[in-house]
Structure formats: structure tokens, C-alpha cells
């Protein structure tokens, strides 16, 4: 697996799954050429910190995150997301650069659930992945994120949004 072009961009290959090159050639080449778009310090702080998220004042239980950090390369993350989609019978509607949209097979309460995922780069070894609901029922979306996507992505996740561990 030590193919030179594949290990480009990997600084922490130990913690990331080495995937077979199953992704479409065009996208893979495009991704190795340019990194994901830059996620600046303020975007990073405002998205990841739970202290700035006042919506918790209105919710009784802690909100689950729709954003996580990863030490893997953008291409690995995109490939993993596509694999996860297939695992849960989601069709990848489109996948371009560092964004993709997946759609569930079955009709939910408000039609088919569609989810978009976007990968950004804070620093060479720190990526941020943002999920958002594109269509369908919000509860089904939350369920998908929490029960399906979250465990399936654990190999590439470094930290989830809003997960507080130490006193700062």
C-alpha cells in the first residue's frame, strides 16, 4: 500500500484506514492536486465550541454534533463517506471535490432523507467535516447521524463537535 501518490498528504497514516483506490479516477486525481478549502480559526472556534452554542439553553438534552474533526486526508475522508453511504443504502447523488450529497433509498416521513457532507481543512493534518440535512425529516436525519453515521465513521473521527472532555 506504499504507493507514493497515495501516501501524499498523509502525515498520520497510522490512525487512518488505508483504503483501496475504489473512487472514480477523476475525482481522486483532482483531490490529490488541491487540498480541501481552508477553514479559518474563527470558523473552527465558532463551529466546534459548545460554549458559543446558545441553542443548548432551549434544549433539555445535549445536542448531538453534526460536525467532526479528522486527522485523515481529504481524499480518505471523501472515500470513507462514500463507503458509509453505500453501507446504509444511500445513493451518492453527486460527489465533487470535497462535497457530496447522499440520498436514502426509502421514503421517510417527509420523503427521502438527503444529507450533504463537506470537508474543509484547518491545517494540513486537521480536517473538518460538516453534515447538513438537504431534504427529509429532521428527526430521521438526527437518527441517521447519531445511530448510523457516527459509529460507522469512528475510524476517521478525531473529535465530534460539542464533545467536552476537559475543563478549559
Amino acid at each position: 500500500m506504499r504507493v507514493p501518490w497515495f501516501s501524499k498528504g498523509f502525515t498520520r497514516s497510522i490512525s487512518c484506514p488505508i483504503l483501496d483506490d475504489q473512487v472514480e479516477d477523476g475525482q481522486e486525481i483532482a483531490r490529490t492536486k488541491s487540498p480541501p478549502p481552508f477553514y479559518n480559526a474563527f470558523e473552527f472556534i465558532s463551529s466546534m465550541s459548545s460554549g458559543f452554542d446558545l441553542s443548548n439553553l432551549f434544549e433539555n438534552k445535549r445536542k448531538s454534533g453534526s460536525l467532526f474533526t479528522s486527522k485523515c486526508s481529504g481524499s480518505t475522508i471523501m472515500a470513507t463517506l462514500e463507503t458509509v453511504a453505500k453501507t446504509f443504502n444511500f445513493r451518492v447523488v453527486w460527489s465533487k471535490g470535497y462535497k457530496l450529497k447522499m440520498e436514502g433509498e426509502s421514503e421517510g416521513r417527509k420523503g427521502k432523507l438527503a444529507v450533504t457532507a463537506e470537508v474543509y481543512e484547518v491545517a494540513p493534518e486537521v480536517a473538518v467535516v460538516e453534515f447538513s440535512k438537504a431534504a427529509g425529516d429532521t428527526l430521521e436525519y438526527k437518527k441517521f447521524c447519531e445511530e448510523d453515521a457516527r459509529p460507522a465513521l469512528k475510524d476517521i473521527v478525531w473529535s465530534w463537535q460539542g464533545e467536552n472532555n476537559c475543563q478549559s
Binding site: A41, F42, S49, G51, T69, A123
Partner: protein, 213 residues
């Protein structure tokens, strides 16, 4: 009606007339009353004094009164307009007004600038952003080399600090936010639109006639 108002004022120092608060903000009178329900539950959670202390704020936000957090502290400090270490109802409503979906963009931009300007110098200094990044990493159990943090700061300031003086002033922030509108995501709480359905109990204690709403 006059009787119940003065009783409320006694129990809740700084309590202001809902009609007056509604006229100063994007909230309707019923929404102000619904906010009062929320305020009551937060302000009475540890000490029933009609004011929100830092611990009560932490309890409401994190469900953990002991959780000290740099970012929550900033929000608390900005809500605590009179710098008493306690938030009264008027402060609460006027501050949340900034987060209303219909709140002015100017207010949101200004509030977000002040949020990041931790020492209140009127500039967001590089060191302040570094401090916040470190706090974030600690809170999320992530570790990054100092060199990596410096790279993040370099790239951020390259875009934001137009005159290259190592700090971001208000006009540079305005420019930066225009290019990166997602920075204002935290400044809007969609929940505020449905506040009367989230806190329906106000319907039974309404101080004001339906006509006035």
C-alpha cells in the same frame, strides 16, 4: 394588573414591562413573556433571586454548573451589560434580541467582534485568537503542535488582517465576515422564532390583554 407588576418587580430585580421590552426589540409581547418563563427557570435553578448567575448560566448551557468554559464566559460577560456578575431579565431579552433571526446584521457583526475581543481593546489580537484555539483544543480533547496552531493563525490573519498590523479591527472584521458569512451562524438562534410554542405555560399567566399583543 398594576398589583401583579409590582409583585413581579420585587421578586425579579431589573424586571421590565413586557410591552416596553417588546417595543425595544424584535420580540412580540407574547414572546417576551415566553422568554420570561425561560428566564425564570434558569434564574431560579440554584438561587431563587430573579437573576442569572454564572453558575446558573453554566448549568443551563452545559447541564453542569461547575463547567468553566472560556466561550460561555465571553457570552455571559456580554449579556451582563451592567457588569454585576449577574444577568437580569432586561439584559437577557435585549441580548437575546441580537440572536433573533430578524435581528440586525450590524448588531450581530458587532456582537461577534466583541465576543472575540476578549480583553476589550477594540482589536482582536493574534494572541487572543491563539488563546481561544488552545481552549477549544483542550475542551475537545485534541492536541496540536504549536507550529500547526501558528500556521492556522497565519492563514487566518493573512485573510483577515488587511493592514498586517497583527490585529483585526472592526472594519477588517466587517470585511472578513462579508467574505465568510458562515462566521455569523452562531449569532442567530432559530429557536427564538418558536419561543411561544416552546414555552406555552405563559398562556396561563399572561399579564397583558390579548388586544395589546
Amino acid at each position: 394588573m398594576g398589583c401583579s407588576q409590582s409583585l413581579v418587580k420585587k421578586q425579579f430585580p431589573g424586571h421590565e414591562d413586557p410591552v416596553a421590552l417588546a417595543s425595544q426589540t424584535a420580540f412580540s409581547v407574547s414572546e417576551v413573556e415566553a422568554l420570561f418563563e425561560l428566564f425564570k427557570s434558569i434564574s431560579s435553578s440554584l438561587i431563587d433571586d430573579g437573576l442569572i448567575s454564572k453558575e446558573e448560566f453554566q448549568l443551563a448551557l452545559f447541564k453542569n454548573r461547575k463547567k468553566e468554559n472560556l466561550f460561555a464566559n465571553r457570552i455571559f460577560d456580554l449579556f451582563d451589560v451592567k457588569r454585576k456578575g449577574l444577568i437580569d431579565f432586561g439584559d437577557f431579552v435585549r441580548s437575546l434580541n441580537v440572536f433573533h433571526p430578524n435581528g440586525s446584521l450590524e448588531d450581530k457583526i458587532s456582537f461577534s467582534f466583541t465576543l472575540y475581543d476578549m480583553d476589550g481593546t477594540g482589536f482582536i489580537e493574534r494572541q487572543e485568537v491563539k488563546q481561544m484555539l488552545i481552549a477549544l483544543l483542550c475542551e475537545s480533547d485534541m492536541k496540536l503542535a504549536d507550529g500547526t496552531i501558528e500556521i492556522i493563525l497565519d492563514k487566518t490573519f493573512l485573510e483577515a488582517d488587511i493592514n498586517g498590523d497583527g490585529k483585526i479591527d472592526r472594519s477588517e472584521w466587517l470585511n472578513f465576515v462579508a467574505k465568510n458569512p458562515s462566521l455569523l451562524k452562531i449569532m442567530t438562534l432559530p429557536y427564538l422564532r418558536d419561543i411561544t410554542t416552546t414555552f406555552p405555560s405563559f398562556v396561563f399567566h399572561s399579564e397583558v390583554d390579548d388586544i395589546a399583543t
